[in-house]
């Protein structure tokens, strides 16, 4: 088979799920393009990419964490805190805001890694706690209100401007995904991540540095969440300590919809991106549908539909898994 087509070669039930998400994504795009006039307008496409890049970044980190068999609930709080840090540092230099926000995310990721690998606390609880701590820290340093960014230092360029006709956040997300794909598919550490997700004890007996790899994965997830926070602050002109609620769930849903098994040990970077885009597309289409005036679904339907989507995917995944086991 041609190398370009290799991602589509069906080898396991996970591949079927991944193929499914791609088909669903194309189906939705086709549906939208045929039904709505401005769906494929450059305005819609660019603002779609600009806004959803943040979520794509978080989903990438989450994919790595979930492949190791863990979970990172702290990403929303981390992004909120990082947006505040970035906004506070933005008057000095745009780079200070960018690096400061990423460093803040990195710090939360490091803390997660420490609690999980050294204190041996389940990822679910560890990151639940750091989520609270991150929100608390963000609110404290922001004094409970949103923090306006500096418009003089060029910090807002990161989130609002284009480069070669595409939004800069989209470029950042694209770069991160290419890097993530290289790490998972081409570098030894990617194999280690997969092996740990398959069985931590076995991976350890094979001589893999389990603790160090796990710590690195949570560090990456935190840093990506920090980057998403930087983009948030830059795009909306303010660090927002109360934003990010539910982002972790969006990310988890993206990863699951992308066919990555929550039990760890398998997963795909590309399908995660497709999953994130698919979920985002649902809302984009919902907005257009409202615009047509036939129906009027309030914004509240979004979470219902999001949940229904997740439901369908996990049930399908469970059925595939069951067939895989019995086969």
């Amino acid at each position: 088979m041609h190398t370009l087509l290799r991602p589509f070669a069906i080898k396991s039930s996970g591949d079927i799920a991944r193929l499914g998400v791609l088909l669903a994504l194309f189906g939705l795009i086709l549906f939208g393009a045929l039904r709505y006039d401005n769906f494929l307008s450059s305005y819609n496409i660019l603002s779609f990419l600009r806004y959803n890049s943040m979520f794509a970044l978080i989903a990438l980190g989450m994919a790595f964490v979930i492949i190791t068999g863990g979970i990172d609930l702290s990403v929303g709080g981390t992004a909120a805190m990082a947006s505040v840090v970035a906004a506070l540092l933005s008057p000095w230099h745009w780079a200070a805001g960018l690096l400061g926000g990423m460093a803040a995310g990195c710090a939360v990721g490091a803390l997660n890694g420490f609690i999980i690998t050294k204190m041996r606390i389940q990822p679910f609880i560890a990151t639940l706690a750091t989520m609270l701590a991150a929100y608390g820290t963000g609110l404290l340093i922001a004094n409970n209100q949103s923090v306006s960014v500096s418009y003089d230092s060029g910090f807002t360029v990161i989130g609002q401007d284009d480069f070669l006709g595409f939004p800069i956040p989209a470029w950042i997300a694209l770069a991160a995904y290419i890097l993530g794909w290289l790490v998972l598919e081409k570098l030894p550490v990617g194999r280690h991540v997969l092996a740990i997700g398959d069985g931590e004890a076995t991976a350890g007996l094979m001589g893999l540095k389990v603790e160090r790899t796990l710590a690195a994965v949570y560090l990456a997830s935190g840093t990506l969440a920090g980057l998403a926070g930087v983009i948030l602050a830059s795009q909306f002109g303010a660090g927002q300590p109360t934003e990010g609620v539910g982002w972790e769930l969006f990310a988890i849903a993206s990863v699951v919809v992308g066919g990555t098994l929550l039990t760890g040990g398998s997963g795909s970077v590309g399908a995660t991106l497709a999953g994130a885009l698919l979920l985002a597309m649902v809302f984009n289409i919902l907005n257009f549908e409202n615009g047509l005036g036939w129906i009027s679904l309030s914004a509240y339907w979004q979470s219902v539909i999001r949940g229904a989507f997740l439901l369908v995917v996990v049930v399908l995944q469970a059925k595939l898994m069951a067939r895989h086991r019995s086969a």
Binding site: I125, A133, G136, G246, A253, L310, K319, M321
Partner: protein, 336 residues
């Protein structure tokens, strides 16, 4: 998980001093923390020893305890229920709609109020059953299975009310939060009854022992004839129903139902109460009294910080540290 848990008491003679410390801390740590908080408050917080303080803390802790009791059962089977906050919102949205006549004309107010108590709890219980079905029928991990309703549940409540605040005044319905039974706030009585019943169930009934067995070692439980699926369905249903009840208390206390806010973050408080209270998050144990203590500790920490002018945000950080510390001590004690 390869660890096999039995509820049998562990021999204490062979412990090293270090692990004995963790065992002691895990057994009495929550209680000591609770006492320390009270002593600290008596010394520092002005007017701490007053009926009003007691009243405020008891009424605020009641909803956490009610939800955390159900959560304890779910966690004892090795599961988790993230949907409790959203189910509170659904129940909280339903009740006022019933007695304000949004579904059908209210002819007999007493009947409508009775329905407003019953129906939302049943609905929340059915949603809990749905969680249980996902966990048992489809073998979906509890975190993900309950994530579905965590996301969709609040949306359902918001769609039902169109996101609007429902303000009401209904003495019969609000008795659950405003009323007093023998001078004690009704929700505190409710909390006590629920805790007592659950405690008795764990201790003295077959289903109670089965819950522990399922969480201790699911395979062994199945092989010894425990109806594992039915037990799991049961705990998720109870957790949902109790969350619904807590939702009723919250809206009754506020004289208003806001689907955006009712029960927001409750899953964290409930899980924290269970963890701080000494129930292992990996299952096989259900320390109801510990959960109550855990909820009180969390409530008192928040109260202490707020009463002494520490911002709410800092309280979040303290709560985070508390959760990590509690789980750490539990696990270390369990390994020894």
């Amino acid at each position: 998980m390869t660890t096999i848990e039995t509820p049998a008491p562990q021999p204490s003679g062979t412990l090293s001093p270090g692990s004995r410390l963790f065992t002691l801390a895990s057994r009495y740590g929550t209680f000591v923390a609770f006492l320390a908080l009270i002593v600290f408050n008596v010394a520092v917080t002005p007017n701490f020893l007053s009926w009003q303080t007691l009243n405020v803390n008891l009424t605020q802790v009641a909803t956490i305890v009610i939800v955390a009791t159900g959560m304890t059962l779910v966690i004892a089977t090795g599961g988790i229920d993230l949907s409790v906050g959203s189910l509170m919102a659904i129940a909280g949205a339903l009740a006022p709609m019933i007695f304000m006549g949004q579904f059908w004309q209210v002819e007999n107010m007493a009947f409508a109020v009775a329905l407003a108590f019953l129906l939302p709890v049943v609905v929340a219980g059915l949603f809990g059953l749905f969680n249980g079905l996902l966990v048992t029928r489809f073998s979906i991990q509890p975190i993900i299975a309950t994530l579905v309703l965590f996301i969709a549940g609040r949306g359902i409540a918001q769609v039902m009310t169109n996101g609007n605040l429902q303000v009401f005044r209904n003495e019969g319905f609000q008795f659950i939060a405003m009323g007093r039974i023998a001078g004690i706030p009704a929700q505190v009585v409710l909390m006590t009854v629920i805790v007592a019943l659950t405690f008795a169930m764990i201790r003295y009934t077959v289903i109670g022992r089965q819950i522990i067995a399922v969480g201790g070692n699911e395979k062994a439980a199945r092989l010894t004839g425990v109806p594992v699926k039915r037990v799991k369905l049961f705990v998720y249903m109870i957790s949902g129903a109790l969350a619904g009840l807590a939702g009723l208390v919250v809206v009754a206390r506020n004289s208003a139902s806001d689907a955006n806010l009712v029960g927001l973050g409750m899953e964290l408080d409930a899980i924290a109460a269970v963890a701080v209270g000494g129930t292992l998050l990996t299952g096989g144990r259900a320390n109801i009294i510990g959960t109550v203590l855990g909820a009180f500790v969390i409530q008192l920490v928040r109260y202490t910080l707020l009463a002494n002018g520490v911002p709410d945000a800092a309280a979040l950080i303290v709560k985070a540290g508390l959760i990590v510390l509690a789980v750490f001590i539990q696990q270390r004690a369990d390994k020894s």
